[in-house]
C-alpha cells in the first residue's frame, strides 16, 4: 500500500474515533440541558 494512502486511512480512522467521542459529548450535553441542568453542574 502506498504510504500516503496508508496515512490517509489511518488518520481517517482516528478522525472518526475522535468525532464519535465528540458526538457522545454533544449528545450528553444536550440531554443535560434538556433535563434542566446548567452547563457547569458537572461533578468533574
Amino acid at each position: 500500500m502506498e504510504r500516503g494512502l496508508a496515512t490517509l486511512i489511518g488518520m481517517s480512522i482516528a478522525y472518526v474515533a475522535s468525532l464519535l467521542g465528540m458526538g457522545f459529548a454533544y449528545w450528553a450535553w444536550r440531554r443535560r440541558r434538556r433535563e434542566g441542568g446548567s452547563e457547569e453542574d458537572s461533578e468533574t
Binding site: G4, G10, S18, F24, A25, A28, E39
Partner: protein, 644 residues
C-alpha cells in the same frame, strides 16, 4: 536464529510465570474500586511510578529505534532520544498541576480547566482519540514483537504479536493498574539488567571500552563519538537547527500537558502517586533512568557498528541490539535476554491496555452513558474494554500493518501543531476550549497538507523536519489564536475553582485577583522585616507559601534539563572510559543533589496536607469495604473524597 537450550526456556518461562502469578496477589486490590483498577488507589510511593515511567518509555520497538539513530548518527543520535527530557520540567510544573487536579485522565482534566460545551466536546474528542490511539499502539508494538520472534525463532509474525499480548492480558484483566505497575517494577529491573549486560558484552566483543573509541578513530569515524557533530547550521542530515528544535520541543514542552505522546501514559502514573512530591520524583526519576538507558544502549550500538559496519538498510541495522544479545550471549543467558525482551513488551502492552480501558470507562462510559454506575460495574466495564482493545490490536497488527506507519506521522504532527496550545492551556488563563479544540482539528488537516499533499503536487518541495515543525506551529497559531480571542474567556467562576485547586504557573493574574477577592486565597501582605531577610534558598515552608511559584521552583526548572543532558552524554562517555564522561556524570549527580536540596522542602510542604487528607479517605474506603463486602458504592471517587 537464537540457539535456545532447556535452561534458556526455563528462564523465559519462569519470568512469564512470575508476571502472571503475581497478578493474583493484586486481584483483590484491583476489584475494590475504579480508582484501584486504574490508579492503584492513588497511593504509590515515588519509586513505583518511576519504574513504570521507565518501563512504559521502553517499548518493544524502542531498541530498534534507538539502535537505528545511533547506528546512523553516532552519539549525536542520542539527541533524537532526548525527547524523554520533557519529564525534566514537567516533573516540577505540569505533574504538580495535574496531580492536584485529581483528574483520572487528560480528557477529564480538559473539563476541569475549561468550561461549558467547548470543554465537554474536548473531553469527548480526546477520549475517542485516546481509546483509538492506545489500540493502535498495541498493534504497532505487537508487530515489533512479531518481528523479534521471527528473528529469534523463525516464528510467523502473528505468533509474536498474539501470544505475549494474551499473556499480558491475563494479569492486566485480573489486577488492572495494580498488575501493570507491579509488573512494570519487575520488568524494569529485568530490562535494565539485560540492557547493561548486552551492551557490555558488545563493547567487550570489540576489545573493551577504550578499544571502541580507538577503533572508531582508526577507521576515520571519530565523529561518531561527538554528540555535537553538526553537519552545518541548516544543511546536511544533522543540522544545528534540527538539534535546537528537538531540544526546544522536549525541554520547553515540559511546561505543557500532552506535548509528548508519552504524557497520556505518564499522566496515569502521576495520578497514581500518593502525593504531589511522589508524582514529581516518580516522573523525574523515570525520565532520568530512560535517558541513562539510552546512553548504555548507545555504547553497545557503537560496538555493534564496529562489529558489523557498512549496513545501509535501516531494517537490518535496527535489529543490532537484538543481534548482539542473541549472537554473543552464552548459552543459558539467552533465555534471560529473551525474558528481558518479553519484559519490555509486556510492560508496554499492559500499560496501553489499561490506559485505553481507562479512557473508555471514565470518559465515555461513566461520563456519557452511565454516570450513576457503581464501582463494581465500572471495574467490569474496565475489564471488558481491556479485552476489546486486545482483540482490536490484533486486528490492527495483523490486518493493517502498513497503516501503522501513519502512527509515526501522527506522533510527529501532535508535536507540531498542538505543541504550543498544549503549553498555553497550562500557563495562560485566557486560552479557552475553542482555541484548543480548533488547534487539534486544524492541526490534523494542516499537517496532512503540509507534509504530504502540497509537496506531492509540487507546490513546495518536501521540507526538512525542523522546518515542518515551525511551519506547522505558525500555521496552527493562525487558527487557534483568533479562535481564542474571538470567543469568550472561560467563565470566571470556573477559572477560579480550577486555579484554587491546581495553582498553575504562568499568566493567571486576573484569576488570582478574583480568587483573592473572594477570600479563597490568603492575601499576600507586605513582607515583614523578617520576611524581607528571606534566605537565598528557603528551606522552611508553610503550605500556603509553598503553593506560590518561587525562585526555588525556577532553579529546579532550569537545572533539571541541564542535568538530564549531562547525564545522557556523560554516561555513554563514561562507559567508553573517556575522561569527559566522568566529569559530565559527576556534574549531573551534583546538579541532581542540588535540585533535591532546593526543591524537596517545598514539595514536602505542598504534599503534607494532601497526604493526610488522602490517607484518611483511603482508610475510610478500606473500613467500608471490610464492613460491606464487595463494593457497591455509586458516584465518583472525587464526589466521595471531595475534601482531598
Amino acid at each position: 536464529m537464537a540457539n535456545f537450550t532447556g535452561l534458556d526456556w526455563f528462564w523465559a518461562g519462569a519470568f512469564l510465570l512470575l508476571m502472571v502469578g503475581g497478578a493474583f496477589f493484586f486481584y483483590r486490590l484491583a476489584r475494590r474500586s475504579e480508582s484501584d483498577f486504574f490508579l492503584a488507589g492513588r497511593g504509590l510511593p515515588w519509586w513505583l511510578p518511576a519504574s513504570s515511567v521507565f518501563s512504559t518509555h521502553t517499548a518493544t520497538d524502542t531498541p530498534m529505534w534507538v539502535t537505528g539513530v545511533i547506528y546512523a548518527h553516532g552519539l549525536r543520535g542520542l539527541w533524537y532520544t532526548f525527547f524523554a527530557a520533557w519529564t525534566a520540567i514537567a516533573s516540577f510544573v505540569s505533574a504538580r498541576v495535574f496531580r492536584r487536579s485529581l483528574a483520572y485522565t487528560q480528557a477529564e482534566w480538559q473539563e476541569l480547566r475549561f468550561g461549558g460545551l467547548g470543554a465537554e466536546l474536548l473531553r469527548g474528542w480526546l477520549a475517542g482519540w485516546q481509546v483509538f490511539m492506545n489500540m493502535f499502539i498495541l498493534g504497532w508494538v505487537g508487530i515489533a514483537m512479531g518481528k523479534v520472534g521471527q528473528l529469534a525463532f523463525g516464528w510467523p509474525v502473528w505468533v509474536g504479536l498474539v501470544v505475549p499480548t494474551l499473556i499480558t492480558a491475563v494479569y492486566t484483566l485480573a489486577a488492572g493498574y495494580w498488575g501493570v505497575v507491579m509488573g512494570d517494577f519487575l520488568q524494569g529491573i529485568v530490562a535494565v539488567f539485560a540492557i547493561v549486560l548486552v551492551s557490555l558484552v558488545g563493547v567487550f566483543a570489540v576489545g573493551g571500552p577504550a578499544a571502541v573509541s580507538l577503533r572508531l578513530v582508526e577507521i576515520g569515524e571519530a565523529w561518531r563519538l561527538d554528540p555535537l557533530a553538526f553537519t552545518g547550521w541548516l544543511t546536511g542530515n544533522f543540522p544545528a537547527a534540527w538539534w535546537l528544535t528537538m531540544l526546544i520541543i522536549a525541554v520547553v514542552g515540559g511546561f505543557g500537558m500532552g506535548t509528548s505522546i508519552d504524557w497520556y501514559v505518564e499522566a496515569q502514573r502521576i495520578q497514581s502517586a500518593r502525593s504531589v512530591r511522589d508524582a514529581s520524583y516518580g516522573l523525574w526519576a523515570g525520565g532520568a533512568v530512560t535517558l541513562i538507558r539510552n546512553s548504555i544502549w548507545a555504547a553497545g550500538i557503537l560496538a555493534f557498528f564496529l562489529l558489523v559496519p557498512n549496513l545501509t538498510s535501516a531494517a537490518e541495522y535496527e535489529l543490532g541490539w537484538f543481534r548482539l544479545g542473541f549472537e554473543l550471549l552464552p548459552v543459558g543467558m539467552i533465555g534471560v535476554f529473551f525474558g528481558a525482551i518479553l519484559a519490555i513488551h509486556l510492560s508496554t502492552i499492559s500499560s496501553h491496555l489499561n490506559l485505553g480501558a481507562l479512557y473508555f470507562t471514565r470518559d465515555l462510559f461513566q461520563r456519557y452513558l452511565r454516570p450513576d454506575a457503581d464501582e463494581r460495574t465500572l471495574v467490569w466495564v474496565g475489564r471488558i474494554t481491556t479485552f476489546v482493545l486486545l482483540i482490536g490490536s490484533f486486528f490492527y497488527g495483523l490486518m493493517m500493518e502498513e497503516i501503522t506507519q501513519w502512527l509515526i506521522f501522527a506522533l510527529w504532527l501532535m508535536m507540531a501543531g498542538i505543541w504550543l496550545p498544549n503549553i498555553l492551556q497550562v500557563v495562560w488563563w485566557r486560552f479557552n476550549a475553542w482555541g484548543y479544540l480548533s488547534s487539534w482539528i486544524a492541526n490534523l488537516g494542516i499537517s496532512w497538507l503540509v507534509v504530504w499533499v502540497l509537496p506531492a503536487f509540487g507546490v513546495f518541495p518536501p521540507l526538512p523536519e525542523y522546518v515542518q515543525f515551525w511551519f506547522l506551529m505558525a500555521l496552527g497559531a493562525l487558527v487557534f489564536l483568533p479562535a481564542t480571542l474571538l470567543t469568550r474567556a472561560e467563565p470566571m467562576d470556573h477559572l477560579v475553582q480550577y486555579y484554587v485547586m491546581t495553582r498553575p504557573i504562568g499568566w493567571w493574574a486576573p484569576v488570582r485577583r478574583e480568587a483573592q477577592r473572594r477570600g479563597l486565597l490568603v492575601q499576600t501582605e507586605a513582607p515583614s522585616p523578617a520576611e524581607q531577610r528571606r534566605p537565598l534558598i528557603r528551606r522552611s515552608w508553610t503550605p500556603e507559601q509553598a503553593d506560590e511559584w518561587t525562585r526555588e521552583d525556577w532553579i529546579a526548572i532550569v537545572l533539571s534539563p541541564i542535568v538530564f543532558a549531562l547525564l545522557m552524554v556523560g554516561v555513554t562517555k563514561l562507559l567508553l572510559l573517556q575522561l569527559a564522561g566522568g566529569v559530565l556524570t559527576l556534574g549531573a549527580i551534583v546538579g541532581a543533589l542540588l535540585i533535591y536540596w532546593v526543591i524537596d522542602p517545598k514539595l514536602r510542604a505542598v504534599s503534607h496536607e494532601y497526604e493526610v487528607k488522602q490517607a484518611r479517605y483511603l482508610e475510610e474506603l478500606e473500613r467500608r469495604l471490610r464492613s460491606e463486602g464487595p463494593t457497591r458504592r455509586g458516584g465518583s471517587e472525587r464526589a466521595q473524597g471531595e475534601d482531598i
